[in-house]
Structure formats: structure tokens, C-alpha cells
């Protein structure tokens, strides 16, 4: 067949190119999917599903939905995160401080002809984590003893209560198919599970567009409500909010500004969920800096800053006030502190310290709410005679500021706003303030013998009430250094269709198997 392109044909057809865009349009394409399909916005595309090397986000959702595990995170009677046996086990329990026994249910089969899920898979999966990027989730794991095909014992080197919430019940506790994973190059995988078995099966992934999970007909546990869950990639939050208002996604996170707007006027057929986030924010002070060495100066700053005004002015009035470092919903959360906004007391403390005309530099990430917070702080501190220069910086230089390994910036560091993210065990948010972290992530650069002692006890104490008291005291010690002004636990806001009720993991990721119809 001869194919000839003439100049005339090119010129004649050029005008017709745009016309094709008007062909084949169907009104039904505008409508979002309904019924048994739930569309959830994902903040970023899937990258690595392997629990040892994952990043977070939608990978967490996929791991909970598509892979077996021994335990799951739940809320206890106090509203704090705890754990419960999963649908995959006959039994899982802490036998003593260093031994956790488990028995898997029989007859659970891996996809991809992977055979039955066995205790060997559990041993392989957990011990594999020790050499992974997420080994910090299993700091005292020694090994897993396999008793028979379906049961075994997890053996810890030293007691570590947080093993449950940081490891076994977290995304890092996903069980992998040993035989199929070992066959992979480097024994790792990225965007495709070697085999699956969960309430859902990952059936389709279109990069930068969507991830599709379909209900697993072979799953013998609690059946998921939605036959299909689609995670739609909309990385820009404002675009996601428009997509939600256009009924193209059923569940999306929204910004605090939008949450404040929705609280006043919700879009039709929509609801707003405020869920405690894994974030904690505070104003930090460098206790090693000559201008801040005097604890009376630091305490003056503590008392001179009006946190309520910051929350109103910079956080749209929708973020809860913080009284410590442990977020809401985690054992050891504080609901009061020993100081409050009191400019007169601040002036008195400065006078007592013999300080006047103090000039300080305040560093912050160049994000709108933090800069707004800095401006309020600037005004607050001016009221007590402290002059503040605000220095907004990009994330690159900011994260190097307190690291001794990255230069001498830590020597000049004075005041800053910080936000960390944590897992749902109290040891996780507190770990960055121990002595070993001075010059690493303890930018406030203090240490305290009692704090160090409590840190060790907190990791091993199995009694919830005693453990709670340990972490409450540790936050009190932090506060008494004068180096912290607690700000907020930035909550996560989700808008969702009034036809469904989404469920979440402790990090605020949607767990498809927990989503219900309203």
C-alpha cells in the first residue's frame, strides 16, 4: 500500500485538527462514579509499596488494604491509639516483656500462586525490616521463632512497648510472601506487590492518575463495604478541593483555610471531618545561644507569646492549642501547661535577668501560616521590649539549621517555629529531645538526667497509666527548660460526601477497608 503525503494534503488537513476535539462527547462522562465505587484523592503518586522502603501516603493505605498483618491500630476507650488483633490471626498477644506469640488463621492464600500465608512469611517479613530503611520501627526486635506452619513467637532483645504501634500494627507490620519476595531482584519491590491477600486487591495503577483497589472475594475477614476504591492523584490541595466540589472525588483532605470556610458554609451533600493529626508544632529556643542562655529570658518569651492569637490569626481558628509535644489521641497527651500568656510576668522576668533592648532573629519556613504566626509573635515580643527580625527560609536551608553535621548555623540559631510528624506511640514524638539528639534534631540543645532516665523507663513500662505519667513528666521537664512555646497539633481536615464515612490510620491516611456508607 502506498502512503503519500502531499503538501496540499497537509495544508488542507491542518485546519481540521482542532475539530476532532468536539467529537464524541457524552454528558455522562461528567458524572462521577457512584454506588459501590469510592473515589479518594491521593496527595501524591504511589512510589514504593515495599514496607521496608516505602515513603508513606497512599502506600500506607494500600498496605493496610491489600496485605495481611497480625494487628491493627484502633482507638481505645480514652480515644487514644491502641492495637487490636487483625482479621488474619486466631491469636496475637504479649506473653511477657520480650515475647509476643501469634497464630495465623488457616487457609488464607496469597494471590499469584504464592501458596498459603504461614508463620515463615511473618518471620521473613519482620526480620527483613531490621535491614531496611524503617528498621527504627523495630529497635529491639531480635528474631521470630517459628513454632509450626501457622504460629510463632516474636522475640525482643529488650522490652519495647512501642513495638505494637510502631511496628506490628503499623504499615511496617505488613506480612510479605517469603518465597515470591526472595525471588525478586535485590529481594525488593516498588509498585507491584509480589502477591496480595487483604480485604482489597490492587488491580490497576495508572502513574500520575489513579490506583484502583477491588474487594477481594477470597478474603474471609470483615468484608469491605465498597466494591472498588479509586485513589485519584491530585497533588495540589486547591485542585483537590475543586474536584471535591465538582463531585469527582468523594473524600479529600482540605486546607485549614478551606476547613474554616466549610465550617461556616458546607457545600451541598458534603461533610467535614476533623481528625487529630500526627503533627506537633512549637516555637523553639536555642539554650546554648548567649542571648538565650538565661532561663529567665526564655521563660519571659514563653509568657510573652499569645498562642491563642496565633491560632486565630495564623491557623484560621481551627487548630487546637497544644500543651506539650504528644499529639491528641496518643497516650501521654497533655491538656494543660504550667505557663500562660502573661506579658507583665514576662517583663518582670526580663527585668530580673537584667536584660533590656534584646534583639533576636526568628527563623521560619516560608509558609504563609508560619510567617503570619511570626508577625504576631513579633508584635507580642515588642510589647515586652524584645525586637524580632523575621527570617523566612526555604526548606533546604531550614532543615540544616540545627544540624552540626551541616555547618555552623546552629551556633547562630535563636528562635524558630518547628513542626514534626510522629507515629501513635508517645516514645515517637519524644525521641528527638534526648541527649543523643543534641546537634541532630534536638535543636534546643538541652539535656536533663531525669529526662534521660524517664526515656529508658518509658520504652519498657507496660502499665498504661504508669507509662502515661512518665511521658507527662517528660513534657513538663521540656517545658521547664523554657525553650518551648507549644503551639498546636495541626489537625487533618477531610471533606467527604455525605453518602460515605471514611476511616483513617493514625497518620491520617484513608484506610479503604474502614470506609462505610452513611
Amino acid at each position: 500500500m502506498e502512503f503519500k503525503v502531499s503538501r496540499r494534503a497537509v495544508l488542507q488537513s491542518a485546519a481540521a485538527v482542532a475539530a476532532v476535539t468536539t467529537l464524541g462527547i457524552k454528558p455522562e462522562h461528567v458524572l462521577g462514579a457512584e454506588g459501590d465505587v469510592l473515589k479518594v484523592r491521593m496527595v501524591g503518586d504511589m512510589q514504593v509499596l515495599d514496607p521496608g522502603y516505602m515513603i508513606g501516603g497512599v502506600e500506607t493505605s494500600a498496605l493496610y488494604a491489600c496485605m495481611p498483618r497480625l494487628a491493627v491500630p484502633i482507638h481505645d476507650a480514652n480515644g487514644d491509639w491502641a492495637w487490636a488483633p487483625s482479621d488474619f490471626v486466631e491469636k496475637v498477644a504479649q506473653d511477657d516483656d520480650t515475647h509476643i506469640s501469634f497464630t495465623l488463621k488457616k487457609g488464607m492464600m496469597w494471590s499469584n500462586n504464592g501458596g498459603e500465608i504461614t508463620a515463615d512469611d511473618v518471620k521473613f517479613s519482620f526480620e527483613r525490616m531490621l535491614a531496611s530503611d524503617w528498621s527504627s520501627r523495630w529497635p529491639t526486635l531480635d528474631h521470630v521463632d517459628v513454632k509450626d506452619s501457622h504460629s510463632g513467637v516474636i522475640v525482643l532483645k529488650t522490652p519495647f512497648v512501642a513495638t505494637w504501634l510502631l511496628g506490628i500494627a503499623s504499615e511496617s507490620g505488613a506480612i510479605l510472601p517469603k518465597k515470591l519476595t526472595e525471588k525478586l531482584p535485590d529481594g525488593k519491590f516498588t509498585t507491584e506487590f509480589p502477591a496480595q491477600h487483604g480485604p482489597y486487591m490492587m488491580t490497576d495503577w495508572t502513574p500520575k492518575q489513579k490506583l484502583v483497589l477491588k474487594a477481594n472475594p477470597d478474603f474471609k475477614g470483615t468484608k469491605p463495604v465498597f466494591a472498588e476504591v479509586q485513589f485519584i492523584d491530585v497533588e495540589d490541595t486547591k485542585a483537590a478541593e475543586l474536584a471535591f466540589e465538582g463531585h469527582e472525588v468523594d473524600v479529600t483532605s482540605v486546607t485549614t483555610e478551606t476547613a474554616a470556610r466549610y465550617k461556616k458554609s458546607m457545600p451541598e451533600h458534603a461533610k467535614l471531618i476533623e481528625t487529630p493529626g500526627p503533627f506537633y508544632s512549637w516555637i523553639g529556643m536555642n539554650t546554648d545561644h548567649p542571648l538565650l542562655k538565661d532561663i529567665r529570658v526564655r521563660k519571659a518569651i514563653q509568657r510573652a507569646i499569645d498562642v491563642d492569637s496565633i491560632l486565630q490569626g495564623a491557623y484560621a481558628g481551627v487548630s487546637p492549642k497544644a500543651y506539650g509535644a504528644i499529639p491528641i489521641g496518643i497516650l501521654g497527651h497533655r491538656d494543660a501547661s504550667k505557663y500562660s500568656y502573661n506579658p507583665e510576668e514576662a517583663k518582670a522576668l526580663l527585668k530580673e535577668a537584667g536584660v533590656s533592648g534584646l534583639k533576636l532573629e526568628f527563623v521560619t519556613l516560608n509558609q504563609s501560616e508560619r510567617i503570619a504566626a511570626c508577625q504576631i509573635i513579633q508584635s507580642n515580643l515588642a510589647d515586652v521590649g524584645i525586637e524580632i527580625t523575621i527570617k523566612p527560609v526555604d526548606s533546604g536551608p531550614f532543615w540544616n539549621l540545627g544540624l552540626e553535621s551541616k555547618g555552623d548555623d546552629w551556633k547562630n540559631l535563636q528562635l524558630w517555629i518547628m513542626q514534626y510528624r510522629c507515629s501513635p506511640d508517645p516514645s515517637d514524638p519524644i525521641q528527638w529531645f534526648v541527649k543523643d539528639q543534641v546537634g541532630v534534631w534536638n535543636w534546643e540543645r538541652w539535656s536533663d538526667p531525669e529526662f534521660e532516665d524517664l526515656w529508658k523507663k518509658g520504652l519498657q513500662e507496660t502499665d498504661s497509666e504508669k507509662r502515661k505519667q512518665i511521658y507527662l513528666r517528660m513534657q513538663e521537664i521540656m517545658e521547664d527548660t523554657g525553650a518551648y512555646v507549644w503551639l498546636t497539633f495541626d489537625p487533618l481536615f477531610y471533606a467527604h460526601s455525605d453518602k460515605n464515612v471514611p476511616g483513617f490510620d493514625p497518620g491520617g491516611e484513608v484506610r479503604p477497608e474502614l470506609c462505610k456508607k452513611a
Binding site: L11, Q47, V48, K208, I232, E235, L242, K406
Partner: protein
């Protein structure tokens, strides 16, 4: 002709190399440790070191640059440090979406701009001509992201006529076209004015030439003279303009892809830059630079092919 083409292609390769060198310099001038930014506060020094090694950041910058250019010459743009997927694959997954968006945007602008310019030239100084002048300046001066946002708010959110996000279901061509309408309108609208102005000017010139006067003298219908004899010549400058438009359209596509959460090379660059995923940023920028650099010689070739006068002049 062949020598001319070789020279132009060589120049395009030089443009690509220069652009990538500048990008490398820009990336390394930005303060901050990419590994720390990517991994956040939870990362151990070992994990950060491993990531730096995987990204090649532990090597001197000139070595990184030479290695990248050497690999790129063979079509290997490296590996995405997160997903371990080939950057070439990721770029090739996204590039078609951008090309379709740009071509459809151009289609919109050609469909509206060429007849508009043509009609303005024929009815010079008429109300339509003046109105077209206003419309042209208006469409040129409105940024594509403004068009995108208002089109989205009005046609999708307010009226519910078009989809808000995405590129449509895989395998459903009609759905994909439906998702393309607003983004391509946003991308192409600005070029309606450019095309209308250049076609008008070109038509006015051509309509005054001898062969048009001769055609009139022979009593040919005016419509045939315009469409068959004048427009065919007048449209040639638009080919070069359209090639130049690729650069502008790529930047418009960045906005459209992000506002409509539509996959594409622009969105890929923005998303990757936000998380400092440098291998993907480099690969995606390389693709866009190459697209622009090679559009020009292709346009020159097309013009030479379509116009024998140009060909004989080379």
C-alpha cells in the same frame, strides 16, 4: 538543504546540552541537602547517605553532569530514586499527555485564529476587523492560568458541564477527549490572537500580489482566490509561529496540567521539583528542552517543504 538540516539539528543538540548544564548549575546552587528534604527529620544518616549515593550526589558536580549527558545521549535518563523506575519510562508515560494537550490547544487556536485573521484581512477596517483586533489583544494578554481557573470554576463547578480533574478513563477515547476540552482551551486561547494577527498581516500582503490580481482579472470567484491562492501562501508564516509557540505552550501546559490535575510533563516537573526528585526533574526538563529545540528545525523543514521559494533559497 541536507547541510542546512544537519546544521540546525547540531544547533538543537547544543541547545539541549547548554540547557542541561544550566539546569545542573541551578540545582546545585539551591541551598539545602536534597536527601534531608526528601526524607524529612526521621531519616537516619545511613539512609540519607544511601539516597545521596543513589542520586549520585556524593560525586563532584562535573562528574554528575558528564555522566548524565553521556547516559542521556543513549536515551537513558537515569532511575527515579523513589520508585526505582526508569526516568525515561516515566517521561514517556507523561509526554503524550502534554503533546496531545499542546496539539489540541494549537488546534483550537488554528480553528479560531486563522479564519478570524483571514476574515479581518478581507474586510479590512470593518467592524469585524476592529472587533477581531480587540479580541486578539485580549486573548494574548490573558494568562493561560487565569483562563484555566475561570473555565474550571464556570464550566465545571458552576455549570457542571466538564470534568474537573484528570485525563479520562484509560481506553475510553470519548472520555479522554471530554477531559481535554477545557485544558486545551486554556492552553490554546492565547494563541488565537497571535494567529489572527499574523494571518491578517500575511493575507493583506498576499492579497496585493500580482498572482492574486491576475486571478481577479481572469474573473475567478473571490472565495476561490482567498482560499485557494491567498490563504495557502499566507498560512506559511504560521508554521514557524507554531513552532515558536511550543515553548509558550509548554509553560501554559504546566499551569493547565496542575490546575486540572492532569498528567503530563509539566505536572511531572512541578511535582518532582517540589520533592527535590532531581533525576526525574532533569529527565523531564531534558524532554521539554529537546521538544522545543527540535520543533524549530522541524518547522524550518516544513516551511521549506511547503514553499518551494524557501527551499530554492537554501
Amino acid at each position: 538543504m541536507l547541510l542546512y538540516l544537519i546544521q540546525r539539528i547540531g544547533l538543537s543538540i547544543l541547545i539541549c546540552v547548554t540547557a542541561m548544564t544550566l539546569l545542573f548549575a541551578a540545582i546545585h546552587v539551591i541551598p539545602g541537602d536534597p536527601a534531608t528534604i526528601m526524607l524529612g527529620t526521621r531519616a537516619t544518616p545511613e539512609v540519607r547517605a544511601r539516597l545521596e549515593k543513589e542520586m549520585g550526589l556524593d560525586q563532584p558536580v562535573p562528574v554528575q553532569l558528564v555522566k548524565f549527558l553521556g547516559r542521556a545521549a543513549t536515551g537513558n535518563l537515569g532511575i527515579d530514586v523513589w520508585s526505582k523506575r526508569s526516568v525515561s519510562t516515566i517521561v514517556m508515560e507523561n509526554l503524550p499527555y502534554t503533546l496531545i494537550l499542546i496539539l489540541t490547544g494549537l488546534g483550537w487556536s488554528a480553528l479560531v485564529g486563522i479564519p478570524l485573521g483571514c476574515y479581518s484581512a478581507i474586510r479590512r477596517n470593518s467592524f469585524i476587523d476592529k472587533f477581531t483586533g480587540v479580541i486578539s489583544v485580549g486573548t494574548i494578554s490573558i494568562p493561560s492560568f487565569v483562563v484555566a481557573i475561570y473555565a474550571l470554576l464556570f464550566f465545571s463547578i458552576q455549570l457542571g458541564l466538564f470534568p474537573v480533574i484528570g485525563a479520562g478513563e484509560n481506553g475510553d477515547r470519548a472520555d479522554q477527549i471530554w477531559h481535554l476540552v477545557l485544558p486545551s482551551l486554556a492552553v490554546g486561547l492565547g494563541w488565537v490572537g497571535y494567529l489572527a494577527r499574523i494571518v491578517r498581516a500575511s493575507m493583506l500582503e498576499v492579497m496585493g500580489e500580482n498572482h492574486v490580481r491576475t486571478a481577479r482579472a481572469f474573473g475567478l470567484p473571490e472565495s476561490k482566490i482567498v482560499l485557494h491562492y491567498a490563504l495557502r501562501i499566507a498560512i506559511l508564516p504560521t508554521v514557524t509561529l507554531l513552532a515558536l509557540a511550543i515553548g509558550g505552550l509548554l509553560s501554559s501546559a504546566v499551569f493547565a496540567e496542575n490546575i486540572f490535575a492532569r498528567p503530563g510533563i509539566g505536572k511531572l516537573i512541578v511535582d518532582s521539583a517540589n520533592v527535590r526528585n532531581y533525576p526525574v526533574v532533569q529527565g523531564a526538563v531534558m524532554a521539554t528542552v529537546a521538544l522545543f529545540a527540535f520543533a524549530m528545525p522541524i518547522a524550518d523543514f516544513l516551511v521549506a517543504w511547503l514553499d518551494p521559494r524557501v527551499r530554492s533559497a537554501l
